[in-house]
Symmetry: C5
């Protein structure tokens, strides 16, 4: 997964039938932007875990989803183990 930051959302009234009901967030990660299906109720500004590729569609079976937000990082962010 990648660490990313939610910077917005997109809407597409005209879309593949199987994508109905999904929320699509725009996530910025390492300088690139990805549109990902939200699985955890993330919002703009949240630092999130972004899964990409085929595994991202496991929550949205039969839909061509190649990116999903699968976690929200804890506020303390990232720690180095002691």
């Amino acid at each position: 997964m990648k660490i990313g930051k939610v910077v917005g959302a997109v809407w597409a009234t005209r879309k593949a039938q199987c994508l109905q009901g999904q929320t699509f967030l725009v996530v910025e990660s390492e300088g690139a932007q990805v549109v990902a299906a939200d699985q955890v109720g993330a919002g703009v500004g949240d630092r999130v875990l972004l899964a990409t590729g085929t595994v991202a569609s496991r929550f949205c079976m039969e839909a061509p989803v190649d990116a999903a937000v699968v976690g929200i990082l804890d506020p303390e962010g990232r720690h180095v183990s002691p």
Copy 2:
């Protein structure tokens, strides 16, 4: 998925049998061009949602399609959630 813009189309009379009947759009996204199977009736100039990888072939089973246009972004484009 990626946000892209349809900039043209390609035709290949000689192609794998299972690709017959598909419309192939040229989509520009982050400086690169991808040829994607159209699933939503997109046209040149449309800003679209581009799915890539294995999931893109879910609409075109048994065909080696690794990119598909799966949505057309609403004209207002992209919003930042309030």
Copy 3:
């Protein structure tokens, strides 16, 4: 898929058993070179459609093929829809 140009071929006498009988073309696309299994009888100089990833192996089941030439672009190349 990507648009590429066939620039040569490679031969590997010693290869995985399941790859026997395949023709491997060298395709140049966006500055990088990929070795792809030929599915349409393409030759050097042809502009082709290049499929990559798992979907590329659908024509060559049980073989670790991650790239395939799946179409030859028409000579008029690429058009912008009217």
Copy 4:
């Protein structure tokens, strides 16, 4: 797989249900950072083997995991065969 170095870990209290119980390490490889599910008990500073893509989820079935630490390189690191 890629050779990487564990540089930390991340925690996400709010995450997809199927990701519960996983340890997520931050691995640096060729200048980029990836968050990977730990399969071998690796710690900060370890040089590891990093598997990415669909195959990474084979240890964590039904979870959208696209990266996993699958081995710890021996201290002598990497050898050139004699």
Copy 5:
């Protein structure tokens, strides 16, 4: 597939159980290094065919292998078809 050159090997005593018995070669391709399971008995200096992604694991079922050496290029290397 990519054309690469074997530049070494890695050993990992501590690794996922299903990776036991595999030989892992370090292959250089287009400036990047990949660790790949050897399927053809390649050695340092050999120019090889490198398969990546899910298809690479077809020889090593149930193992998270995302890269495999699947062929050794003939010494004459690469030819341009006449």
